[in-house]
């Protein structure tokens, strides 16, 4: 391994922040300092306690425990069927838990119908009322609360202004673009000043560019109104962009929850590591015992040994099956033979594909025993240190031991 690696890429991983990886039992840590509601003493907006939801034989949500802090932007992230939408619908009141209890602002809401919950939803396909114009759609919730006409008009105007649709009140909903319809749906929910706003993959139907704009806008709006947002998505990029807290779900269970950065850096298992960002995975067995920093040697097939860092509190027995996860951007590629540098793992391999991505090079390198590893390197101008490699070239791939996560599950 050469020392030609860009120095700034390896540095952060030494700073371990234990507090950012949160087990479900410690909900208080979910609070994001910037967005925590001023009323610290109040009960959290949403508290889900041991909630299970079954549809026939299928368990959609399994013994879920979660607290959503007041004023936070939380995302439920996971593949379809992971239970994220079911959880959302239970909070909204469209579904009742099979067992367990949901608390909204400290109050149990079992049996409370949706129309009596101080929660509003932005639906996946907006669900705008086709027989009403934009203003009538937005004012619908206010009319249900017997708001005066003048009040309704004023608040609808404010809500439309918030979503930058001032002057669209008389329009027909189907005359609007997808993005505009999305804003109407948002305004229709926000105008009621709910304690919690639930968003069910609201950007799914928009094109990529518009989606990105809306992500930023949503985040801004959330900041402005200070309402708790719970956002359901299967798009990790979307979750990373907007969320204070991401709750990764799979098969009805929470895999991990925490800030986007914590989840990215310290995934607790292979699923999270693969779902948030991308990773190279190397299967192996624990070859020794961990040192004080949590570093541990893992023997992979073909006698290859790699070193990685264990997550906090993990102390697998020797011989236990583990997975080592290495982010592609942490994999260095260098020319020449392998050299033994302390604190680094270095392996010989051959480039099987090289792809130029503009700001980056992506290489696939075949390493005996480990298979193909993906490496991503910043592209450098001129003949700088980060020279490009080509398919067929013999190279050395390596990573700092702290960049390789040893996952026990």
């Amino acid at each position: 391994m050469t020392t030609s690696a860009n120095p700034d890429t390896s540095a952060p991983y030494h700073e371990h922040q234990p507090g950012t990886i949160v087990a479900a039992e410690h909900p208080a840590t979910l609070r994001h300092p910037a967005n925590v509601h001023p009323d610290h003493a109040a009960a959290p907006d949403v508290d889900i306690v041991d909630v299970t939801k079954r549809f026939g034989d299928v368990t959609a949500v399994d013994a879920m425990r979660l607290t959503v802090a007041r004023g936070s932007f939380s995302s439920f992230l996971g593949p379809s069927g992971c239970g994220k939408t079911t959880t959302l619908r239970m909070i909204a009141g469209f579904e009742q838990p099979t067992s367990g209890e949901i608390y909204l602002a400290g109050e149990p809401v079992a049996g409370v119908p949706p129309y009596r919950r101080n929660v509003n939803t932005v639906f996946q396909h907006y669900a705008l009322f086709p027989h009403m114009n934009v203003a009538q759609n937005v004012g619908y919730g206010l009319r249900q609360r017997r708001t005066s006409k003048a009040d309704e008009a004023r608040r609808v105007g404010e809500a439309l202004e918030l979503v930058r649709l001032t002057g669209y009140g008389r329009r027909r909903t189907w005359e609007l673009s997808g993005g505009q319809q999305q804003r109407v749906a948002l305004a229709r929910a926000l105008v009621n000043h709910p304690a919690v706003l639930l968003l069910d993959e609201p950007l799914g139907a928009l094109d990529r560019k518009l989606r990105h704009e809306m992500q930023i806008e949503l985040k801004q709006i959330q900041h402005e109104v200070g309402i708790t947002f719970i956002y359901v998505t299967h798009d990790q990029e979307e979750a990373l962009t907007m969320s204070d807290v991401i709750v990764v779900m799979r098969d009805g269970r929470i895999q991990q929850q925490g800030s986007p950065e914590a989840l990215y850096r310290h995934p607790v298992n292979r699923f999270v590591a693969g779902f948030i960002g991308s990773s190279n995975f190397v299967a192996g067995r624990v070859a020794g015992s961990a040192d004080d920093d949590g570093r541990i040697a893992v023997s992979a097939p073909d006698g290859v040994t790699v070193t990685g860092r264990l997550a906090d509190g993990e102390r697998p027995a020797p011989g236990a099956e583990v997975t080592v996860a290495i982010r592609p951007e942490h994999v260095r590629v260098a020319a020449g033979g392998a050299s033994d540098v302390p604190g680094w793992t270095a392996l010989a391999g051959r480039v099987t594909s090289d792809t130029y991505l503009g700001d980056q090079h992506e290489y696939r390198v075949a390493v005996p025993g480990l298979g193909e590893l993906v490496a991503r390197a910043q592209a450098q101008g001129g003949d700088g240190a980060g020279r490009a490699f080509h398919t067929g070239e013999d190279v050395v791939v390596g990573w700092h031991d702290t960049a390789a996560l040893v996952l026990t599950s």
Binding site: A92, F94, N120, H125, A127, H131, M132, G141, R172
Partner: protein, 262 residues
């Protein structure tokens, strides 16, 4: 042309006189209309029965269509078929079946025993309304079913989410969206009802005299085509006016709230 020519013939005939052996002899007299105006009762009764029959069909048909469209699940097809099966038999057979159901061996007899005095639904307008609901219900249910089936259930969730309880949601979302189905169904039921004569003859025990029966008498029994034509012209006019009025009021009310028919 196929629609206009028979209509034109009817209008021309309505000013003629009956031939000696029946039928039509050309003339231009207003007698037929004159006589008709002095006897408006069958028209009024027909209008009353057609309107209440239509309303009843809506009241019965809407819940049925709603159930079929939203709650019936896998049984939906079966239930739709069951709804239609009676209509594979003739109108006459179905109506006569009700004669038995309502008769002394049926409901009338049961009520008479129960209340200890003679009850006769048969021969009353109630029997006719029952026959109407039974025979015309599918005409109401199918257009309603189509609109209700297309109703996106998340709209109802959205409404509840925004604070509207079940009835408020029904009134503000389901009903306005289903309105085209209600209008179509009402027209489909109302128009043939205005000319109905089989049900009054059978379930009315011949004692309920509607325009349909009048026309039948004029054209078939008296063979007085001009008199029948005049009544037919008035009947068509009544239907045109009432349907136009109905569509106008239902859509105008909606337009006022800035709601589209579609």
């Amino acid at each position: 042309m196929l629609l206009v020519i028979p209509l034109a013939i009817v209008v021309v005939y309505s000013f003629g006189v009956r031939g000696t052996d029946g039928g039509y002899t050309p003339a231009f007299v207003l007698d037929n209309y004159d006589r008709l105006l002095s006897r408006p009762d069958p028209f009024i009764l027909s209008l009353e029965i057609a309107i209440s029959g239509t309303i009843l069909c809506v009241l019965v048909g809407f819940p049925l269509a709603y159930f079929l469209a939203t709650r019936a699940g896998k049984r939906k097809t079966l239930l739709l078929v069951l709804l239609v099966i009676p209509f594979w038999t003739s109108f006459l057979v179905r109506t006569i079946a009700w004669l038995i159901i309502l008769g002394p061996a049926g409901l009338d007899g049961f009520l008479t025993n129960l209340l200890g005095r003679d009850v006769s639904i048969l021969g009353s307008p109630w029997a006719i309304l029952l026959g109407i609901v039974y025979n015309y219900l599918p005409l109401m249910v199918f257009p309603l079913y189509v609109t209700l089936e297309r109703l996106d259930p998340t709209l109802l969730e959205a409404s509840k989410d925004l604070g509207a309880a079940r009835w408020a949601t029904f009134r503000q979302i389901t009903l306005p969206i289903a309105a085209p189905g209600v209008i179509t169904g009402s027209i489909l039921v109302f128009i043939p009802l205005m000319g109905e004569y089989v049900i009054p003859s059978i379930l009315g025990l011949g004692k309920i005299f509607l325009i349909g029966n009048v026309l039948q008498l004029d054209f078939l029994a008296s063979r007085n085509w001009p008199a029948g034509s005049a009544k037919a012209v008035v009947l068509i006019a009544i239907m045109l006016i009432s349907v136009t009025f109905y569509v106008w009021t239902t859509t105008r009310g909606r337009a006022g709230r800035d709601v589209s028919v579609l």
